[in-house]
């Protein structure tokens, strides 16, 4: 595992281009585009103000930089550095901006969700979509980029509009049987739309592309409901994480629940592997200390190494006592992610913030639990294989695969606190983002995997 040198970054804005060739990162008002392999700067763009959001167009030709404070969007072309485009939302303000899947339209949401403006880069045409709903996830495109589903709120009722992206024509418009629609998400095959109610009510509705209600699922009543939703890449399963600390898996044929994954604080089943991160300070060998201390050892925190130990069951995990009198209590399943082959599901229960649970979807059972020393910030699956990268805001990055898991110290001067991470398309490299720096972590290629696993065996 190799690490690149550390580059400057602000607002955790660092993204690989969809074709995997480039890496865009922001430093204050500057946008830097690098080659993803060599990390040489390909382009450097200067925006008018601090960049708050960036997004690559689907064809990797353009990058939009949103400057919400100014109500501005600046678009840059990679092929023509001199080309520029500036969209000003004026007094309407700007709260969100995104590309349409064709990479030629930009959807800007104005302040107060007054409307969504669709700007075209090809023509002068501007479309407006009225009544967008201000919610968790109100806009979703199908994977093939043909359709846009949009949550709306009119006359105190929730609606969903399905629009054709090619000409922004309304295809279907229907009301949803929800109190307060919280989010919508297309299945990866683009034929089923999941819509779920706000946390006050457990309700998930499944609509066909043509607006028919396929099914409704409600696990329980009178308690806080859905917290997170994830489709499996095969569109076969819909995982619904809720405030009762359970994940329910629905199938795509009957839309009924297949199984229920609880997140108990104690693990008794000896079949479940519990990896426990253990800190160990390296033995201080005086003779071995090199005089200018090596870079890796220079950091204040890097002196403590950590490794995984397989804990013997029964294991009790550290749980947080939720404050019942506060809104948005830290309970329930807050994060869900399917592996790209749909074989594994990683979850995080917010009441056990240090643990990542990995479920075997083929056997429908818990496979492994990773207990970290600090709360898990973010985890993401390798887009190519069943390999999960986890960061906890410390100076380490953790990788799990069915063969085992490993914790890797990020080398660098000072403390590199990994707050977020994103995989390269190929799964060969991983961008690690800290508060004001980022670096790339290059993983072994196929032939190097064996040695990596060997290393892993050492660690586990």
């Amino acid at each position: 595992m190799n690490f690149s040198e550390v580059f400057k970054l602000s607002s955790l804005l660092c993204k690989f281009s969809p074709d995997g060739k480039y890496l865009a990162s922001c430093v204050q008002y500057r946008l830097v585009v690098r080659d993803a392999n060599t990390l040489q700067i390909r382009q450097l763009y200067t925006c008018l103000d601090q960049i708050q959001h960036i997004e690559w167009s689907a064809d990797s030709l353009f990058i939009l930089c949103a400057l919400y404070k100014r109500g501005l969007v600046q678009v840059w072309s990679l092929e023509q550095p001199e080309w520029h485009c500036k969209i000003d939302e004026g007094s309407a303000g700007l709260v969100a901006s995104c590309w349409s899947p064709d990479g030629r339209h930009i959807l800007n949401t104005t302040e107060f969700h007054l409307r969504i403006t669709v700007w075209s880069l090809c023509t002068k045409s501007v479309s407006y979509i009225k009544y967008p709903k201000a919610c968790q996830q109100g806009v979703t495109f199908t994977r093939d980029g043909r359709y846009l589903a949009l949550a709306e709120r009119r006359d105190c009722k929730d609606y969903v509009s399905i629009l054709v992206c090619s000409d922004w024509q309304l295809l279907r418009h229907f009301d949803t049987d929800t109190q307060d629609l919280a989010g919508i998400e297309w299945a990866p095959n683009g034929c089923v739309l999941a819509a779920w109610d706000s946390c006050l009510e457990y309700k998930i509705l499944l609509y066909s592309l043509d607006g028919r209600l396929l099914s409704t699922f409600c696990a329980y009543e009178w308690s806080l409901g859905i917290k997170s939703v994830a489709w499996s890449p095969s569109s076969q399963f819909l995982a619904v994480g809720s405030y009762d600390g359970k994940v329910r898996i629905l199938n795509h044929v009957t839309w009924k629940m297949i199984t229920e994954f609880g997140h108990p604080a104690t693990i008794n089943n000896p079949k479940i592997v519990v990896y426990k991160e253990a800190e160990k300070s390296p033995p201080l060998v005086l003779g071995r200390l090199a005089f200018p201390p090596p870079r890796a050892a220079a950091g204040p925190l890097s002196s403590t190494e950590s490794k995984y130990e397989v804990a013997s069951v029964p294991v009790s995990l550290q749980t947080l006592k939720p404050a019942a009198d506060r809104a948005n209590p830290r309970i329930g399943v807050g994060a869900l992610a399917f592996s790209p082959d749909s074989c594994f599901l990683a979850t995080r229960s917010d009441s056990v913030p240090t643990a990542v649970w990995i479920w075997d979807i083929q056997k429908l059972r818990l496979l492994a639990v990773l207990e970290q020393l600090s709360a898990v910030r973010c985890f993401q699956w390798d887009p190519r294989q069943a390999r999960l990268a986890i960061c906890t805001g410390g100076s380490k990055v953790y990788l799990w695969s069915p063969a085992g898991c490993v914790s890797v110290q990020v080398p660098g001067e000072g403390d590199f606190q990994v707050l977020s991470l994103c995989w390269h398309l190929s799964g060969d490299s991983l961008a690690l983002l800290s508060k004001d720096h980022f670096c790339l972590c290059f993983l072994e290629t196929e032939q190097g995997v064996g040695t990596a696993f060997g290393q892993r065996a050492d660690h586990t």
Partner: protein, 570 residues
């Protein structure tokens, strides 16, 4: 008896007297007697029996006493003490017999009374003790009653308290329920209120939004604009089409078409998948069925014998199914037509299999149980026999061991030396034999070597012999010449002859052999088993051949001959 009588007599009489005293007290008595009687009653009876007696009847008042007694006795129904008077005037005579009879009767009566008295006394005692006991019991029971009454009162009190509490709790529960209901209603009303307010707020908000929208958007805000250097082409290379009223409808239709196409594709894909899954499941089902049939058919005879008709019919169904199975086409039919048939047949087969398995299980368990029982019985029956047998065997073995020990001891005692030595010798010999065998093989090898060398030696000897012969001839000729030259010297001559003879004699066959033999024997005569010597010999022989050997060879001793010698030595 007489003794007793004497003792009790006064008492008895006194008793009778006593009775009479009480009974006749009022009737009549001489005044003196009366006074005495009063006196008597006041003092203890036993003490002054005699005094009383003496007091009752004195010399003077015999007549009076008798009459008194007679009177008394007659009142009690005894016959009169006097004889029957013939005339009124005549004095009545005392009838002794009657007196005696009366006395006897009185005595008997007295005894009876005494017995009765005793009985009564004991009964009295018994009753007294019973009374005591009962009184005790009564007291105890009374106490118990008291305590239980107290307890009851306590329990009642507690019950009352508990009931009170219960009532209170009920009241509380009711209150709580009411509270809950109230709260629920409050929550509900609040929720409705909240929802209502929310809606109102939302409406207001919407209105505001609308207004804002109008204000912001319709102002023709110059700022809301897009600055582009130049418009870029569409990603798909198409040109953006203008929307007009006409095209809109067609667009819509096209979009609808596409949407349905997508949905159709998805459904087709799913159908394909389901078909594939179905096919696989069917395959599995078919295989299972086949296996079931093959599994069940050999056993169909047995169950038919035992089982009732239902299974029989089912089995015949299986046969039918087996027939059906051969028609593979049924499997390709759509599920609806075959489904019922299929599920039914599978169900039947499954039932048969289940029953069969259950039967087997039962059998197995039965066998198991029986086996256990049998084993138990057998073990118990045979156990004793077996143990007896074993004990016998043990006894026998012990005896055998004993005898053996005895024999051994005897042997050790008597023929210890002979046997052991022979044994030891045997051992020794065996070892020796082994060693000898080894040595023998070694020796044989050496012999082979020796023979080889011998052969080479003989060849060399032959060669030497020839050379010698030539030399001898030369010498002979030379001697001849010398002889011819110096015939004059006799001594010299004789010497020469000797020499000659010595050399020429060797031409003779017998001579050298005689000479050589002891020499030859010497090396061979040495311990034949020792390899050292032979090796020396074999080494030395070609290196320094003895003259005798030369002679021997020169005298054309054939190899055979030599061989014979060697062999003889061995």
């Amino acid at each position: 008896m007489g003794d007793w009588m004497t003792v009790t007599d006064p008492g008895l009489s006194s008793e009778s007297k006593y009775i009479s005293q009480y009974t006749s007290e009022t009737k009549m008595s001489p005044s003196s007697l009366y006074s005495q009687q009063v006196l008597c009653s006041s003092i203890p009876l036993s003490k002054n029996v005699h005094s009383f007696f003496s007091a009752f009847c004195t010399e003077e008042n015999i007549e009076q006493s008798i009459s008194y007694l007679d009177q008394e006795l007659t009142t009690f129904g005894f016959p009169s003490l006097y004889e029957e008077s013939k005339g009124k005037e005549t004095k009545r005579e005392l009838n002794i017999v009657a007196v005696l009879n009366c006395m006897n009767e009185l005595l008997v009566l007295q005894r009876k009374n005494l017995l009765a008295q005793e009985n009564v006394e004991t009964q009295n005692l018994k009753l007294g003790s019973d009374m005591d006991h009962l009184q005790n019991c009564y007291a105890k029971l009374k106490e118990q009653l008291e305590t239980s009454r107290r307890e009851m009162i306590g329990l009642q009190e507690r019950d009352r308290q508990l009931q009170c509490k219960n009532r209170n709790l009920h009241q509380l529960l009711k209150n709580e329920k009411d509270e809950v209901q109230k709260l629920q209603s409050i929550i509900a009303s609040r929720a409705t209120q909240y929802n209502h307010d929310m809606k109102r707020k939302e409406r207001e908000y919407n209105k505001l939004k609308e207004r804002l929208h109008q204000l912001v958007m319709n102002k023709k805000d110059k700022k809301i604009a897009m600055e582009v250097l130049n418009y870029v082409g569409r990603a798909d290379g198409k040109r953006g089409s203008w929307r007009t009223g006409k095209t809109e409808a067609s667009f819509f239709l096209r979009n609808e078409d596409e949407m349905y196409k997508i949905l159709l594709n998805d459904y087709e894909y799913r159908q394909k998948q389901i078909l594939m899954e179905n096919a696989e499941l069917k395959k599995v089902l078919q295989q299972m069925k086949k296996e079931m049939i093959s599994l069940l058919s050999p056993q169909k005879q047995k169950p038919r014998e035992r089982a009732d008709d239902s299974t029989g019919t089912v089995i015949s169904d299986i046969e039918e199914d087996a027939g059906e199975l051969s028609r593979e086409s049924t499997w390709d039919l759509s599920c609806e037509t075959v489904r019922e048939q299929l599920t039914n047949s599978i169900r039947k087969q499954w039932r048969i299999l289940k029953s069969h398995v259950e039967k087997l299980d039962n059998q197995v368990s039965k066998v198991h149980l029986e086996g256990f029982n049998d084993e138990d019985v057998i073990s118990r029956q045979d156990h004793e026999q077996e143990t007896e047998k074993l004990e016998l065997e043990i006894q026998q073995c012990k005896e055998m061991i004993k005898t053996q020990q005895q024999l051994l001891q005897q042997q050790l005692a008597t023929a210890c030396d002979d046997d052991t030595t022979s044994l030891l010798r045997d051992c020794y010999l065996l070892e020796e034999k082994e060693r000898l065998k080894e040595e023998w093989s070694l020796f044989k090898e050496q012999k082979k070597n020796f023979e080889k060398e011998r052969r080479s030696f003989t060849e060399a000897a032959i060669r030497l012999g020839l050379e010698r012969k030539a030399f001898e001839e030369e010498r002979a000729s030379w001697l001849k010449q010398q002889f011819l030259n110096m015939t004059t010297f006799d001594h010299q001559n004789s010497e020469n002859v000797k020499l000659f003879s010595a050399f020429s004699g060797s031409s003779d066959r017998d001579n050298p052999t005689v000479h050589s033999r002891p020499r030859q024997k010497k090396p061979h005569g040495a311990p034949s088993g020792s390899p050292v010597c032979t090796s020396k010999l074999t080494k030395s022989l070609p290196a320094s051949p003895s003259t005798s050997d030369f002679c021997q060879t020169r005298s054309c001793v054939s190899e055979h001959r030599y061989w014979s010698i060697v062999q003889s030595v061995y």
